[in-house]
Symmetry: C2
DNA sequence: GTGACACTGGACCAATCGGTCTATTCCTGT
DNA sequence: ACAGGAATAGACCGATTGGTCCAGTGTCAC
């Protein structure tokens, strides 16, 4: 919340991520980002020479890193895969309530942007990174390789679908109930 | 594919649904819709006095009806809930391959539009309609009320999450594998 | 025929879009 | 002190946006 000491580039990335996730790539004008980040247009094109698309990629990567940290935090102290997965669902539900996050930011940023092929491929890359992170923890917790792979992908699907339903219902209840589907 | 005999209003709805689902609400200009539907601007504002937002609601409703028909077609001949759900997943995978559908159209249309509250509430209404349709079939196939409710919601979550991963990977494989998560 | 009304066609508009450009300020190494 | 690159500041641009408006066109009932 103390944005003042943050460097301009980081302020731009955070502002862009926040706006993109609520209104989508095309729904956000550069003027909106600039106003929220309190930065002039010159700074944006200095840090992101390719303009809006560069900024979108950076924002998606930043959001992805946050998610990876959340996954790690959920599974690090867990005794079993189920425990870690449940913790992750609860953390996401809390995040949903606090921030009113409108979507997995990556989806909103990357699925409707320009250069659709490149953007979508990047989304796939990011998602596979999340699944790989879960998979690592699953194997560490004793699951066989094939089992761990299936479980990690299953968890990803549940979270994405659950998040979408939570959005539509404006309630995090679905996310908390996800553990019953594991 | 024979759009010619279709009334202008229907051509507009179909064109809008097709474009919105690939590029999102803000990503599509009225000029694009008009060009694809081969209709002048005057017709659009005659049939949809509130312009783009009216058109988006109509497009979402049309897409929703298509999905309801798909659910019915999948469960009508099914002997068990699992069989119907599996058929639905396969039908969706085929749809994904044929049309290259970019997203659940409802999500792309309603989650990033203007009037975010009203639009999102409408998305919730549509989704609950899908779940209710599945629930009806589940009960008809002998599941208890509470069990049917949980299974219907579970299927919805799997499909939404699976579709998203399929999009990112540009492969319908995930959708076909969904049955293993039932 | 003729009036009434649903519909089409497209010119036109202010506002906003993403992006470019140059002038200026700030900071750091020497 | 001063040089020089990094960063900031914002005026400016052509293109496109959603939306308005009205003159035409078709098609009914009478």
């Amino acid at each position: 919340m103390t944005d003042a000491p943050l460097p301009t580039k980081d302020r731009l990335i955070r502002a862009a991520a926040n706006l993109f996730r609520t209104r989508g790539y095309h729904g956000v004008g550069l003027a909106d980002v600039l106003a929220e980040a309190q930065a002039p247009k010159g700074s944006l094109y200095h840090h992101f020479p390719n303009g809006k698309s560069d900024l979108a990629i950076a924002a998606a990567n930043w959001a992805s890193d946050e998610m990876l940290r959340l996954i790690a935090a959920s599974f690090d102290g867990a005794e079993t895969f189920e425990a870690g997965a449940t913790t992750l669902c609860y953390k996401l539900a809390k995040l949903f309530d606090i921030t009113g996050w409108d979507t997995c930011p990556v989806a909103n940023i990357l699925f409707e942007g320009p250069d659709n092929d490149a953007f979508r491929a990047h989304a796939g890359h990011i998602y596979d990174g999340w699944i790989a992170e879960v998979l690592d923890h699953a194997e560490r917790l004793g699951l066989s390789e094939s089992d761990a792979s299936a479980r990690a992908e299953h968890l990803f699907v549940l979270i994405q679908g659950g998040w979408m339903l939570a959005r539509a219902r404006r309630s995090s209840e679905v996310l908390r109930d996800l553990r019953s589907m594991l």
